[in-house]
Symmetry: C2
């Protein structure tokens, strides 16, 4: 029997996003619905067998450390985490979207994203594969051919894993304040030819890095023979001092174990020490670490300092890393969505099975009547429909973004440019909206379970804990909001916003032709106008401090309008395929759309009002008044 998740993914992938059309492009010419289905079948099976059964185990058996025999610490993970990693790498999914030459499958990114949903729903934290793929993609985009061949290729094939090292204990959102330093390494090159110059190392200009990096997911483990850290650090300027601000930041490949130009381990450990594990509220299947680079715990060739190879140009580090961060942000949105869906399905099953009370009838309740399943109560249905509208809507949005990735890479020139621009605008929404609303969905899933939902005997409390991270990592809600209102809606004189508006209006125009959807279409057009007006009003004085004082409510409203558009477009696709709503799932999607317009979209007025009047209530209150 097809699972509800699979049915939803099939609908989104084929009926809505028309993945078949991608197979007409040269890059995907070998593919067909059959090959896509085969990938989905495989991933669904691995997720069911190797991920889902162990989701609670990785929560209770948190990563721990033990002495590594070399004076340092190593991380111990449960067996199931090793097995899950092996199964995932064995499936080829690490390189699903890569070129055949890199050992990839040349799958559309969209199909890769759909397939990865199964793993996220089964256990979001057992694997940390998304960082490996993102890391390797950043090296592909900005590294030298040899860096690609040595590092990226060995990440895609599963030999090594990757991390991203941005934050430091004293610098989280404020990356311009990172203190990690990179000094040119004047020691003899590690390359076989013994060349002596730091910038003639075949793996790239060679530096010694010193500093601490915080919140590093999968920063230390023994799941793979090596770990490729991508590290932001500052190269001192001519005066010996680091350049202020983000302009001084460069990007480095810093492998845990040193390797030669053929990708063989040299047997030397790099000077990277695990300083400690972070003990988190959730997401415990993924090791999270504080790493000390270059403190001398593992001297390399007699000297302290972690060996790192420059990627791209000096001072260009943040731009290079952002390539990875944008992918990571969409991946976070997908993770939040997957957790939301997991809670939705769990609470739906519970609501269908658990007998409790009687519905309110015409004359109130009849205690002599038999009990009914929870799902017969109106408020339980409300909580299920809210979850459905949040999580399936978020899934659709994230897959829409994945399709934009494909269009940006393989579409016609004008369409590709448009897709890239639209993706830039939607990225903060794709990251923030699920992380806020699918967290709320998880809370509703607990609520449906009643007291049982508050116990660790049911899975929903873990989903809720796991999901709370997503508003924080890869750029907090506040950072996403500044990105949206401070940068994305302004870029190219608002071109991205106009692009989005055109797509929204196109959907509304189609919906206006259909009686059942016409009121939604009018509501959507009005909502879009409210957002446009608030955007303009926020910037009308030209003062960033005034415009951005209420950036988060703006982000929330913007997200709700985007989701309303997504839901209306989903409703159109539903009616295209099943105009008379014969299939129960079709009625469900129409119900979720209606729910979103009746209960959710009206919330934007309260969010946008402070934005539009540049409300200074918060910003102007002195610190001592709190």
């Amino acid at each position: 029997m097809t699972s509800p998740l699979r049915s939803t993914l099939d609908f989104l992938l084929h009926d809505w996003l028309q993945a078949d059309a991608l197979t007409t492009r040269a890059r995907f010419a070998d593919h067909s619905r059959e090959t896509f289905d085969a990938v989905l079948d495989t991933c669904e099976r691995i997720a069911r067998d190797r991920y889902a059964p162990f989701n609670r185990q990785v929560d209770t058996e948190e990563p721990r450390t033990e002495p590594d025999g070399a004076g340092g610490l190593r991380v111990v993970l449960p067996r199931c985490t090793h097995d899950a990693r092996l199964a995932y790498a064995g499936s080829g999914m690490l390189a699903a979207a890569q070129d055949y030459e890199l050992g990839g499958m040349q799958l559309p990114y969209l199909v890769e994203a759909v397939a990865n949903t199964f793993f996220g729903v089964a256990s979001v934290s057992i694997g940390s594969n998304l960082l490996t793929t993102g890391n390797a993609n950043a090296i592909l985009a900005h590294g030298t051919p040899l860096q690609q061949q040595v590092f990226a290729a060995n990440e895609f094939n599963g030999r090594w894993a990757g991390t991203m090292c941005l934050s430091e204990p004293q610098a989280g959102s404020s990356l311009s304040d990172i203190a990690t330093r990179a000094q040119p390494d004047e020691a003899p090159a590690l390359a076989a030819d013994g060349s002596a110059s730091w910038n003639q190392d075949p793996l790239g200009p060679r530096y010694r890095l010193t500093g601490s990096k915080m919140w590093i997911s999968a920063g230390e483990h023994e799941l793979t023979e090596n770990i490729v850290h991508l590290v932001l650090a500052k190269i001192p300027g001519p005066d010996g001092r680091p350049v202020a601000g983000v302009k001084g930041i460069s990007l480095f490949i810093v492998p845990k174990r040193l390797v030669d130009a053929d990708g063989r381990l040299t047997g030397e450990r790099n000077d990277i020490a695990l300083a400690g594990l972070n003990h988190k509220l959730g997401w415990r299947g993924t090791t999270n670490t504080l790493l000390n680079f270059g403190e001398g715990a593992y001297p390399v060739r007699g000297a302290a300092g972690a060996i790192g190879y420059l990627v791209g140009q000096p001072g260009d580090g943040l731009r290079c890393m952002f390539h990875m961060m944008n992918e990571a942000r969409i991946a976070i949105g997908m993770a939040a969505t997957a957790l939301g869906l997991a809670g939705y399905y769990a609470s739906l099953d519970y609501a269908k099975a658990r007998l409790q009370g009687r519905p309110v009838g015409a004359g109130g309740k009849d205690a002599a009547a038999p009990q009914v399943p929870l799902i017969e109560h109106a408020d339980i249905k409300r909580m299920l429909l809210a979850q459905k509208s949040y999580c399936e809507g978020a899934l659709a949005l994230n897959l829409y973004c994945a399709r934009l990735v494909d269009d940006g890479r393989t579409g016609d020139a004008p369409a590709a440019a448009e897709a890239k621009l639209l993706l830039e605008l939607l990225t903060p929404i794709a990251k923030s909206w699920p992380s806020e609303n699918c967290l709320e969905a998880n809370s509703l899933a607990i609520q449906i379970h009643g007291g049982y939902g508050y116990t660790r005997d049911f899975p929903v409390e873990q989903y809720w804990r796991d999901n709370r991270l997503n508003m924080i990592h890869e750029g907090t809600h506040g950072i996403q909001a500044m990105d949206l209102l401070g940068r994305k809606v302004l870029m190219q004189e608002g071109k991205a916003l106009r692009l989005l508006a055109a797509r929204v209006q196109a959907t509304a125009a189609k919906a206006r032709q259909i009686e059942a959807l016409a009121p939604h279409a009018a509501q959507l057009s009005d909502a879009l106008a409210q957002v446009a007006q608030a955007t303009q009003a926020a910037w009308s004085t030209g003062k960033p401090a005034e415009a951005l004082a209420n950036a988060v409510p703006y982000l929330q409203a913007f997200g709700h309008v985007v989701l309303a558009w997504v839901w209306l477009d989903l409703a159109l696709a539903t009616l295209r395929g099943d105009a008379s709503l014969k299939i129960a799932a079709s009625a469900g999607r129409m119900g979720a759309c209606r729910y979103f317009y009746h209960y959710e979209l009206p919330r934007i007025a309260a969010w946008l009002a402070p934005v539009a009047r540049r409300d200074a209530t918060c910003a102007a209150l002195p610190a001592d008044a709190f």
Copy 2:
């Protein structure tokens, strides 16, 4: 130095609720601001020394069981829990509001509630004293003089603890479906005089109870020499079958250890077995149990069946228990509020101490400028102000309700009746509003901490976990909403609602005279009208299923209007005492009030629209469409 919590409590107690006026009533004639202050000082000290330092310990050292040597299990709690209980009982706070004859202090309930806030903020779960007080109060209200003397008095003096046993594994919100049975006990009386009749036991008509009770807080422990369970059970009717619905439910005192009419332990263990502990997401300092009554694990006089004494009349159990549940609901609101405040203070301290980034200035950000404390960022202020408005507002509402308790008990006859009616209306709000909004406050407290907030090295993640329970226990959100829209706003033809409206309008009328508050006053009157209109529209067809289909959004909107009223009244009190806002805290309160009107109150439109149109989107969706 006065803590921010103490300053806020002093303001609410004296400047706003005018506690001094209570001392003119005969019952409180011995009291004065000085005696109130002394109680607050003592509680603040005990909470600081015996509660706060151990809040994390009771989270990590969860209650566990070990064999009790009699074939059953007993509960092991950390030492600090015993110490906290001893200190609390030693303070006399268990009987703070009771008569002198009962060993009480005859404090106003308001002052008791204020004093208890310190414990909730320091550690909400280390103690479970609220149930003991509520249990004893229910016995005072409905028990015989001897039941009061034996059971209630020994709870107030700290010798014994109390529980409330309502839910069963198969019956949570649906109490009419409880399966626990009570059969008259025909065995010889336990009383010293050896009287043989079941209904001549001096402790009350004697029954044997059989059944399982779930979610019993402090259901088993060795903090006290005995535990007094108040248990709902059904007495079989003449046909030997339990009466259907809530009418068949009676209330029983079922002590863990049997006692004689003088309150001495007889040495006999009652037939109550600990079946297991519930392992919860949070609130782990309080043991939560599944208890088996009467399964024969501890036979009494050779027979299975737990000995219980009827309280009140047969079939009157739910009404008697509701006396306790209403107090418990306000106590839950206070607990949620205390957790919210704890998170607010933690994140405020963090925001003042942590340097991160630079504020957005006229020309954007200047990376060369020194870093600023988090609190200088507009969005951090927004998150702090939201917390302040939620938590201080919730505290004010709960203390207002506490004052209503006093007015109901000791006010003049007409004022007392009014206070009782108003309290009935406000109870679902006092319980539900903090449990939803102070949970959100805790989430914002995590967000302000960034990644650190997601670790167990900081307290905020625990507050958030602890607080998630409050929307569930003592009647879920859905139950509170049905109570409000299905019962409370309708009772006495809407008299309670009219009473509330009159108080809201009185506040608005005063605020209209003050320029700074006049816009809020207009907004409040309008909001009140919206609620009244939605109430009427919901019931306009007279069909409960239609009226109640959106009861939770109604509850949310109603709560926000009540809180807006509270905040406007707090603003009036602030200006009365400090018209020129010379004190920083005054400016803070005015800011929180403004925040609530600018950012929160406008949310009601989105909640009330589905209520007013009796939106059937959720209720009408068939179960198979999800």
